[in-house]
Assembly symmetry: C2
Homo-oligomer: 300 residues x 2
DNA sequence: AAAATAGTGTCTGTCAGACAGTATATC
DNA sequence: GATATACTGTCTGACAGACACTATTTT
């Protein structure tokens, strides 16, 4: 391993690297789950809707508004440890596996000053956890999520070497007794053979900071990831589940209808049938399956 | 947009959020390119090798050793702006499009103190740029890259619900007149239906900081990305190129041999033939193609 | 029996892998 | 003509999309 020379040690000691301005750093977690809507008809399958986990802010700024679970990084913890810690502290969910999905470092994104946020995404089977109640400083709740978009402007040069598309994206979050909304202006630019996305918050009602933007970015990325690697959809599932649950999750996230026979054929290799059945339904019960771990773990 | 109440403004003003410890933040850029080896036989196609861009450190710590281009984030710049700025300053390459590929926040990774690094990956056509020479503080150079791995330990429980594989990964970087090496211990753990990777630097010769680790992580991610979306391989290409160049780039990065007729069929839709030909070769010259931009830009 | 979902079978078109064979340039 | 790469054609098997059809359970 590298050993510093005495000269080098001295040099480092004499330089106070902390004299330069530094940002504070936070981890914010976008935790998604699919939650069943209460069905009016027992003969029909319940629909499951994509939801995101929010906590009510107990302090200024944005006191009383809803925000992503998150918090400041400490000196002796990595950002991954920080993410896991704050999610557990604020919501009661202990989750080791998360994806880093973005960094937010724009000026003015936090009224408290220069604060850089690392955004993590976690896909969760909501039924496996009981959320912290509102008895303490923190109150956590699942918000059902709707997203819509509207094209504002489109400019495509003839030679196609520069183009841009401007959109307004609207997000609405429905909780127990509250509706939060936000809208975002997104500009996609096509140049140098790549697509770059810039987005800026236009309006935000009830949602703290730029968290509406972080949520929208996370959804876009989630959709991309699932189209690239369909195994990711399993993250929403409990240990035992039906093929229909899996298909519904897929449809809900991608927004595309599946043909069940084909979907069944595609996933069957990733499953191990159990002798259990889904009960409490008003029709032929479906078989419950487990993940076939051999297909998920490639011991390389 | 959100307006703060006077009470809220007062509260924020009274709290000094900077009193908590904060990290310094840097952007480090892993710039890859494929560079032709000088061929001994004019009748043979030159092989192209994956290379990474390094700069020689002019200051302590690690003075005289080689490091990734990188530098500190400033208050009025986002981390993306920082990445672009430092790459340009230190190497002369101006590049807008880069991927954020990792965050390094472990304790002790930088002898100067608590420094968090955001790692970016850029794929570059090296011939398009002239590197800064060694006339100033910075000297930049391409280092050819070799990577090998050796399995150390493997533990798989019967029910497959927990498993781990431990490996040593060796990296060697060959420059004009220097050989840099480093080795890394990597532990892959398989649990909760996911694979998690932890890696730690074991030894590093001539390479500054934990940059060997950052480079290895970037290569692993690059390979994954290219297997998921083969269009990424085009990033290494100049405006005009042959199908063989493209195939060679693909082989070099993934390490797998391709069958040319099949590869040709697969990529031909993404190309527009030009009337130009590759010249200066000792055999039938290949046609030069351009990207078919319609296939790269999906104006959505 | 009606309703609703669960699950099977089959046809078709596309596409990747393998490889034989032809074309065109230089040495 | 030898050599090396460039490029075309074709066979095969796997698989995704579409959809008709059968099965099983509750109301």
């Amino acid at each position: 391993m590298y050993k510093m020379s005495p000269l080098e040690k001295k040099y480092i000691k004499e330089h106070d690297y902390t004299k330069y301005e530094r940002p504070s750093m936070t981890a914010d977690i976008v935790a998604f789950s699919l939650r069943d809507e209460v069905s009016s008809d027992i003969r029909k399958n319940p629909e499951s809707k994509l939801s995101v986990l929010l906590v009510k802010r107990a302090e200024y700024p944005f006191k009383g508004m809803w925000a992503l679970p998150g918090g400041f990084m400490k000196n002796n913890q990595s950002i991954y440890t920080t993410a896991r810690r704050v999610l557990l502290e604020e919501t009661g969910i202990d989750r080791e596996y998360m994806d880093l999905t973005g960094v937010y470092s724009d000026m003015g994104r936090d009224p408290r000053g220069w604060i850089v946020s690392q955004a993590f995404t976690a896909l969760i089977d909501a039924n496996a956890y009981k959320l912290r109640a509102g008895d303490e400083a923190w109150e956590a709740a699942w918000y059902q999520l709707d997203i819509s978009e509207e094209e504002l402007e489109r400019e495509i040069k003839k030679n196609q070497e520069l183009a841009s598309v401007k959109k307004r994206i609207k997000l609405s979050l429905r909780g127990q007794d509250q509706l939060l909304t936000c809208s975002l202006i997104q500009v996609k630019k096509y140049m140098d053979y790549h697509e770059t996305i810039e987005s800026e918050l236009e309006e935000s009602e009830g949602l703290a900071f730029d968290h509406g933007r972080i949520i929208i970015d996370a959804i876009v990325k989630l959709r991309q990831d699932i189209e690239l690697d369909e195994k990711k959809i399993f993250d929403f599932m409990p240990e035992y589940f039906t093929i229909q649950q899996l298909a519904q999750a897929h449809e809900q996230v991608t927004g595309k209808k599946l043909l069940m026979p084909n979907f069944r054929r595609k996933v069957i290799d990733y499953l191990i049938a159990s002798s259990l059945q889904k009960d409490g339904v008003g029709y032929r019960p479906a078989k419950l399956y487990k993940r076939n771990l051999e297909k998920f773990y490639r011991y390389e």
